[in-house]
């Protein structure tokens, strides 16, 4: 691959995108990363959220 093109891609697209994702995550989490208990709880909460939403839709749209 053309080294100039690769450098341009890294500098102008890839690195800024990665930095934006890291910044967004840090802002959303207040700079704190989740611990084990929070991750275990998040799995239960997220699964429940989509189970509830899906079941509500299925109930509203029966076969």
């Amino acid at each position: 691959m053309n080294p100039e093109l690769l450098a341009l891609l890294l500098k102008d697209i890839i690195i800024p995108e990665i930095a934006a994702v890291i910044r967004a995550h840090a802002n959303a989490s207040g700079g704190k990363m989740p611990n084990d208990a929070q991750v275990l709880e998040a799995l239960q909460l997220d699964a429940d959220r989509y189970i509830r939403a899906g079941e509500a839709w299925l109930k509203a749209n029966p076969a």
Partner: protein, 135 residues
């Protein structure tokens, strides 16, 4: 074929390979837990939660597409039923979900018509990569 066109195609092909390689690299680490998660149970739960989130995105996309008249209610029912069953399995068995959810995912995907598959393409693409990596 002139040399300029040939080189341009080669560059485009190399660029495509580079982007696909980056995408695969990103997806292989889609379920990598942050360093603050340290126990095996926590790491497993983190990975399972990432799958739940992606499945939830598929559910939302299918419901939205149905509301917009782009996905039939029957097909949406198949997709939503899959997402509900998968979320239940991931919640109950975060370390053994793949043996159940993997085949169910393939079954659900096979019921989609090509146009429906295209409509849900980005969400299915991410789940395809997750299913392959979870094997």
């Amino acid at each position: 074929m002139d040399r300029t066109t040939k080189m341009s195609r080669q560059t485009r092909a190399e660029l495509l390979v580079f982007i696909v390689a980056l995408g695969v690299l990103a997806l292989t680490c889609i379920a990598c837990p942050p360093p603050s998660v340290q126990t095996p149970a926590g790491k497993t739960a983190y990975a399972a939660d990432q799958v739940v989130l992606r499945i939830g995105e598929l559910q939302t996309a299918a419901i939205d597409a149905n509301a917009a008249g782009e996905l039939s209610t029957e097909t949406t029912r198949h997709v939503v039923q899959f997402t509900v069953d998968a979320a239940k399995t991931l919640k109950a068995s975060p370390d053994g979900w793949h043996t159940t959810v993997g085949p169910a995912y393939v079954g659900m995907k096979n019921q989609l018509a090509p146009a429906e598959r295209a409509r849900l393409g980005p969400y299915l693409g991410i789940l395809d990569a997750i299913m392959v990596n979870a094997r």
